[in-house]
Amino acid sequence: MLERFGIRGRLLLAFFGISTFAVLATAAALYAFLQVGEVVDRITKDRVPLALASLQLSRQAERVAASAPAVLTSTSKAQHGEVSAAVGVEMTRLEELLAALKGATLSTAVVAEIEAAVLGLRRNLNALDDLVVARLTVVARKEELLRRLSATTNASQRLVAPGILVMNSKLQQWQAVTADTSLAPDRGAAAAADLVQAIAAYIPQQKAQQEISAVNDVLVKTTDAPTPDDLTLILFPLRRSLAVLDTVSTEIDERLRTRFQQRVGEFKALIDGGNSIPKARKDELAVLAEGEKLLAENNRLSRSLTAAVDRLVAAADREITASGLEAATVQRYGTGVVLGSAFLTLLSSVLVVWLYVDRSLLARLGEVSQSMFAIAGGDLRAPLPAAGRDEIGRMAEALRLFRDTAVEVEEKNLRDVAEARQRLIDAIESISEGFALYDGEDRLVLSNSRYRELLYSDLAIELMPGTTFEHIIRRSAERGYIKDAEGRLEEWVAERLSRHRNPGEPWVQRRGDGRWIMISERRITAGGTVAVYSDITELKQREENLAEKSTALEALSNKLAKYLAPQVYSSIFAGRQDVRIASQRKKLTICFSDIAGFTETTDKMESEDLTQLLNHYLTEMSKIASDHGATIDKYVGDAILMFFGDPETRGVKEDALACVQMALTMQKRMSELAEIWRDIGIETPLRCRIGIHTDYCTVGNFGSEDRMDYTIIGGAVNLASRLEQEAPPGTVLISYETFAQVKNTIDCEEMGHVQVKGIAYSVATYRVIDLKANLAGACRAVRTELPHFRLELEPELMSADERDDAATALRDALDRLSHKPGQ
């Protein structure tokens, strides 16, 4: 029946059920809290302030009661004012507290009682205040009366003082007279009697003095009389004293009488009547008694106030306790309700979720999701949950439709793949090159028939998809298909695998049957390798033919080179110089060398020996010339024509210097060669003459179109030749022009001038000695060669012993020479 609502409706229903319980629980909790709050409010708003106010009131009442006696004890107006104001402030505060209490309390009876007590206290304090004012007035009056008493006493004492002084004087005189024995007894007696009479006249004044003192003393004491009865008693002696003073006033010196009576009158006023000292004391006593009474009343009122307030506080306390209990009860019930609601809410939630949500929703959802996973995993035949009318039922229905569609799509895809594969095979079969595709693990995926045909025509090698590349090449190498792999099978396989895995430029492989195959391998992005094989055998054969011809040409060229100066050769072969008739003028250093007396020396030699000697000589010289960079123009018999400055030049000066150095080197070599030649039987050593000149010449190719010669022409050549002829054998002769270029480096000796045919002026000549550098620290060797005598001595190189030996040898030789043969 519930299916009508759908999942949404049912879930909503479940949540509403849970929420309803929660709302109910919250409402119950709220109600409980409100109840507790109300009770707490009642306590904090009503009871507690009331109790606090009551307590404050009680304390204030006590404070007022305590401060009241201070009012009474104040002795001055100012002090009284201060104390009274302080008490007034306390009282006002008390009344304020009472007013506050009146507004707050519920117990009107107690408040009325308190109010009455406070009113009484106020009244009482006012009365006390008035009383103190009265007392201060009385005290002031008393003090004024005392001052008057003092003044009156002084004034009256002053009045009797002269008389007493005179009396004292007379008394002393009388004492003197009675003591004076020089006087006659009758005169003495008479004088004494006169003095006694005179003294007697002053006795009333003395009495008055005593009474004045007595009155003063008694009146002073009166101010401290403890009770009114004492006052009454005191009046009697005072009145008696007054009577005495009255009597005295009639007897006193008439000049002073009026004043004395005036003073007595003042005493009377101080003793009796409304403004008397006893009366003032009496008033004071009355005021004090009243004050005591008021204070007692004050204390009583304060106590009753405190008692009433205590009752109020007790009542407030009781109410607070009751409210507290009430609050506790409500709180307890509230807690119960909240806990119950919470439990029921939890229970209902569990039941709804367990009985309904889990069983009728989650279980079915689980089935649907299982089916979905199965389909996703490829199992399109997995069972599907039953369809239904609610959301899950519709989900199952949708899943079924989805599965059917998936089955259809799968079948179509398989067809498409087969078609595409066929097309690919057709395509690769149609190309003329061999094609093979290996996957990431180097297994053959695909190959065309040309591949087999080209590489593995032997059917023994399987080329099934899945065969590894290593297997294929190893089999082909074993069968001798690969020229390279002969005798080094494992090595080659490793090389080939490495190349296959890291393919580079296309390369060529020589097959066992003599064919050349170009292999072009490429890694493809998917991780495999594509290999294309092309047969390039024909191409390769043509290339070999060409190489053979080229080698023959090179050999020919090398032979030809020997007939040319190396410089000329290289510049021609490098293409720097054209082979054509052309010439140019350049400043060159020209060198002629010749062997002195060659014809005479070689005349008796066999032709073969001569050839060998000459070739040896020319080879040695040519080598030196080449080393110094000379261009060898030509050999003419034993003479050599060389020049510096073309086709390459280092500069005129450097060329000249190189030329002279070369000449020196040649002479040095010649002396070394002489020894070799002596050993092979040439008795007379060959000695070389060299001439050098520096000047402008024409250099280039001269001759006909068929045959030309690279040479120099000009007067300078002739001059060089002439210098050579002038040079003593074994020396180098240079012209001034050359000398000018080399004089800084080479040590030369001027040799005089020579005339040259075709040159108008004579030419200065210089004999080259050596490099200046060599001359500096040279160890001059002693060399002498004569027939049957040869001396070669290098003293600087010898040790002391060697020198001694050499000296002995030479001396010996000298001795032998000085002895005539046969002697």
Binding site: P162, L165, S169, A176, D253, R255
Partner: protein, 364 residues
Amino acid sequence: MHRIIAMAILVLAAAFSSARAEVLIGVSSAMTGRLAWFGEQAQRGAEMAVADINATGGVLGQQMRLITADDFCDPEQAVAAAQKLVGDGVVLVVGHYCSGASIPASKVYEAAGVLQISPGSTNPLLTEQGRANVFRVIGRDDTQGIVAGNYLAEHWSNSKIAILHDGTTYGKGLADETRKQLNKRGVVEAIYEEYTPAKNDYSAEIAALEAANIAVAYVGGYHAEVALMVSAARDRGYTVQLVSGDGMATEEFALIAGPAAEGTLFTFPADARRNPEAASVVERFRAENFEPAGYTLLSYAAVQAWSQAVDKAGSLELQAVIAALRGNQFDTVLGRIDFDNKGDLTSQNWVWYVWRGGEYVPVE
């Protein structure tokens, strides 16, 4: 707001009125003992002056109140009395009477910043101490001594003159000044002696004078002793002229001496009772059955001069009042008076009086 202001005004007014309640004035003299009659004069004079000035509005609008302190004419008690008055907060002390009391007390007043005006102390030292707070409304003994010396020289140059003193500041001071002037005038006293004051009988001293044949005796001392001396002389029938200073100006002299008082001479400032300015005051004293003799009116004048000085200064502040006292003239029952910078009267006038019929009258 208004209430607060009203309260503030009330509080201020209360404070003001309590501060202005009264101005305390002290009077100190011998209120008991042999010189009590002089004390009475000083007190009565000051009392009447205070009452009269209060009746016309007081000083600076404040009422005055008089406090009395008894110094017994004793130097030590005088200091105690001065301290009591200072403690009570007086601004003026009218006193003391005896020079021997005034001089030590002046030190206390100076330290406390209290003005002192003496109605009866004549010893020069009082105003020679350089205390700015000290004034007096009576002449100095150096002028009184000159008057007395001259008088003795003029009248008794051929008789034997005795000069006696009681050894007090006043008595000895006055006797010495008189002797100095007398000697200056070329007259030399026959006797110069000190007697003990406060005795009841001076017969021995008089007998000695009689023996020395003294015709006139100048006594530097107070009235009681002089009275006993004249009594003793009369008792002996010895006629000797006693001459003394201002310390004689009390009725008590006649009361003690009786008929012997007749003819005794003394110097005193011009009797103010005869001044027209004093007439109403004198009349009122007499109505109270009190004769304002001696220093009564001097005391009255002291308070008058002070109150006028305060009004002129417009302040109770000591220095202002001192300046006003020094810089102004004052109309008093003594007539118009003014003070020099030492605090003495610029005009000091001594008049001779003689006792006749129980009272003193100017010598004709």
